[in-house]
């Protein structure tokens, strides 16, 4: 037997627990207390499972693999064989990404259950399904599950947004699901093309087949499959040109919901991006296409964030822009680029959650997030002002916060790949992020109020404080000791990375 088992215990639990929780909380529907207990307990449980699990594979339904040379069946994932079952993989990268996601899930669940009115069962169910879909995409190693998880992910995004209950969110959800038809069907076509070409649904098997057989003229099929794949990548992560819809989705849901949504979409971007690099990485123009989309997204997002007049929408566009920052690293395809991209995704998710939790806190002061009013909140809630400024510093890549560490890796990677333009754009984005955020913070927190209208005084729940400061502490810790995370990423980045040729 090899070191890795083919029936790792933790993988099914990471998928099945959220699904079961979603079913149960939807069923109990209105008992806020019970929902709180169940969802918090299972979120903590998920984090612990991720933390203590070993590495390995899981072959769902327990069908073995067929060794083509000997025509015997084997349950050992170490041997080269065609997998009959559907395969998930849990390794260091998966551990790091899912653990961060579980951490954010805990805070999101805590904040949501304490801040929302009754009838939160279906909404909490949606948040757990969001987690499940992202976990599947992170761990998956076969095209079927990739497709179905992207499908379920897009539906659940609509569910979380619709749950917020305003007409703006209904519109946003409707528009976003409209495009899910396009990208879901596109991914299905890509899947069908690859399956027709290779005959294997397992990603590793398909890659083995593509590399071992001379495809000749048939390789055109791969290009078209790549096109459709990119379409769903764009859709799942909200890259340009879908970014207006995705940012609307981010802006229209509750801030804690947005925290989970952006976590899901950024980790999905990483996971699908790695799959694309593995399958299509050797084709010409593949990384150029991915890079171009990333750079455009990065820039459009940040420019649009500059001209927004609402803190929620500024954050929404910044999230989109920083998704581009993540994909830049991945589309560079080099080891440093991949490390930078994945590290950026993890950092991004954390500091954006800090900012979004601050935005959530604004709801307790009457829900005024528009920058047209100046509120002078810093006097009323000084801790909130400090947290939001620390979050802004992390987001704009100022040392000693985590954003700095990943952005410096990204800049070095793009310089090393011979693309100083990309490095310049990354720098522009980080500076502009600061400007865009600080414009809003100045109006909302620092500038003395212009109107005499008093701000609603409200008690911000304890969990929000705790979540905020734990996450700020994490940004600092990762910023000072980046190796805590980078050591998880590097082995994968080395395995996936391809030489950049120009």
């Amino acid at each position: 037997m090899s070191a890795y088992p083919s029936n790792l215990w933790s993988i099914p639990l990471l998928v099945v627990i959220p699904i079961l929780v979603a079913v149960v909380v939807n069923l109990i529907y209105n008992r806020a207390r019970l929902i709180k207990v169940i969802s918090l307990a299972s979120a903590i449980c998920l984090a612990l499972i991720t933390l203590f699990s070993s590495y390995g594979y899981h072959w769902f339904t327990g069908q073995p693999a067929l060794r083509p040379e000997t025509l015997t069946f084997t349950f050992d994932p170490g041997l080269p064989a065609w997998r009959l079952a559907l395969e998930f993989y849990f390794g260091p990268l998966q551990q790091a990404m899912i653990f961060i996601m579980s951490l954010i899930l805990i805070f999101v669940v805590a904040v949501a259950t304490s801040g929302l009115t009754k009838r939160q069962g279906p909404y909490m169910g949606m948040i757990f399904l969001l987690y499940a879909s992202a976990a599947i995409i992170i761990m998956v190693n076969d095209f079927y599950h990739l497709w179905i998880a992207v499908e379920i992910g897009s539906l659940v995004v609509a569910g979380v947004v619709v749950g917020s209950g305003t007409s703006v969110s209904h519109k946003a959800a409707l528009k976003y699901t409209f495009f899910s038809a396009l990208s879901g069907a596109g991914l299905a076509i890509a899947l069908a093309l690859i399956l027709g070409l290779t005959g294997y649904p397992n990603i590793s098997d398909a890659i083995m087949y593509i590399q071992s057989v001379n495809l000749g003229e048939m390789s055109i099929i791969l290009y078209v499959a790549f096109g459709f794949f990119v379409l769903s990548w764009i859709y799942a992560g909200g890259l340009a040109p879908i970014h207006p819809l995705k940012s609307e989705v981010y802006g229209a849901s509750f801030p804690h919901g947005t925290a989970m949504l952006q976590t899901q979409s950024k980790l999905m971007l990483v996971a699908i991006g790695i799959v694309m690099l593995r399958v299509f990485g050797n084709l010409p123009f593949v990384r150029e296409v991915m890079l171009a989309i990333s750079v455009i997204t990065m820039m459009l997002g940040v420019v649009m964030a500059l001209i927004q007049t609402d803190f929620r929408w500024i954050l929404a566009y910044l999230i989109v822009s920083h998704s581009g920052l993540v994909t830049v690293g991945i589309s560079l395809g080099t080891t440093e680029g991949l490390v930078g991209g994945i590290f950026q995704a993890i950092n991004d998710v954390i500091y954006m959650t800090v900012l979004l939790l601050c935005c959530e806190a604004l709801y307790y002061f009457g829900g005024k997030t528009s920058t047209r009013h100046s509120l002078g909140l810093a006097k009323k809630a000084p801790w909130l002002g400090v947290a939001i400024i620390l979050g802004t510093m992390a987001a704009s890549g100022i040392p000693p916060f985590n954003g700095f560490q990943s952005e410096i890796i990204l800049i070095q990677a793009s310089l090393k790949a011979g693309l100083p333009e990309v490095a310049a754009v990354i720098l522009m984005v980080s500076v502009t992020t600061f400007i865009a955020l600080f414009r809003a913070i100045y109006r909302l927190f620092l500038k003395p109020p212009e109107t005499s209208e008093p701000i609603v005084e409200a008690k911000v729940p304890m969990v929000l404080h705790v979540g905020l400061w734990v996450l700020v502490a994490i940004t600092l810790i990762i910023g000072i000791y980046p190796n805590i995370v980078v050591s998880f990423i590097t082995p994968v980045a080395e395995a996936v990375s391809l030489p950049w040729y120009l």
Partner: protein
Amino acid sequence: MDPSELRGKRGVIAVIALLIIGVGLMSSLERLAGNVSPGISRIYNILAYLVAPNNIATWVYDWRGFDTLIETAVIYVGAVVSALAIGRGVVQMKHYSEEAPVTSPPLEYRTESLTVILKLFGLPAAILLLSYGIMVVTASSTSGGGGFQCGVIMTSAYLLAAIFYGKENPIRFGKRFLIGIGAVGLGGYTLLGLPGFLTSGYWQYNVGADIWNLVSPTLHSIFGDPFRLTLYLQEGVFYSTPGIIPLINIAEAFNVIGAIGLIYFAFLYGWSEQPEDQEKGGK
């Protein structure tokens, strides 16, 4: 912005772009014609008869069982999202609310125009459709059919009865019944993976069929024997059992009935928060 914007310059550009996409797709599909690689599916075909006479059921629920579970979850999510959109369970912040939650009024029915014969025929037809759906789900592993089909047939019976009788629908699937049956379906399907997980370590291993001899004979017969069949094939006589596949199919059917029924219910009869609903939700 109105659709007229797509006329003129932008329209021409869009048409050219669509042409490029079409040509690219067609040129690749042309290469694929006649060259499709059968790959792993050949092995599935060789092994399928070990599980059940119906190959499709074996593929969908045995090899792709977990995939089908997630697909089932998609239907469930679709129903919950529709119900959320129509008005159920809209959450709001305790300290801050922008608008009142959306509620949807029921449709207005005009059943007077239907002929008497149709009304007489409606109830037996609906009952027969229901029993046809049940037949389809019980025969899933041996002949055509399965959970999805059963769910669709049963909910179409519901829709048929709603069209014939309007508010006096004889098939009275209530809100709670539908939510409960959907939850039982998805939850049951998920939990059917547990026996395999606990005994063999593989989630959703078909302990009843046990073609790879991973579990104890007792468990094998508990899940396998109720569905054991004699198969007379060219290769000889086989005593084959689909194992947990029929049970999964029933769970699947419940889920689909719950999900599609809920969507129909919400659109037909509207959705509003009743006080009795808030006391204890669900089933």
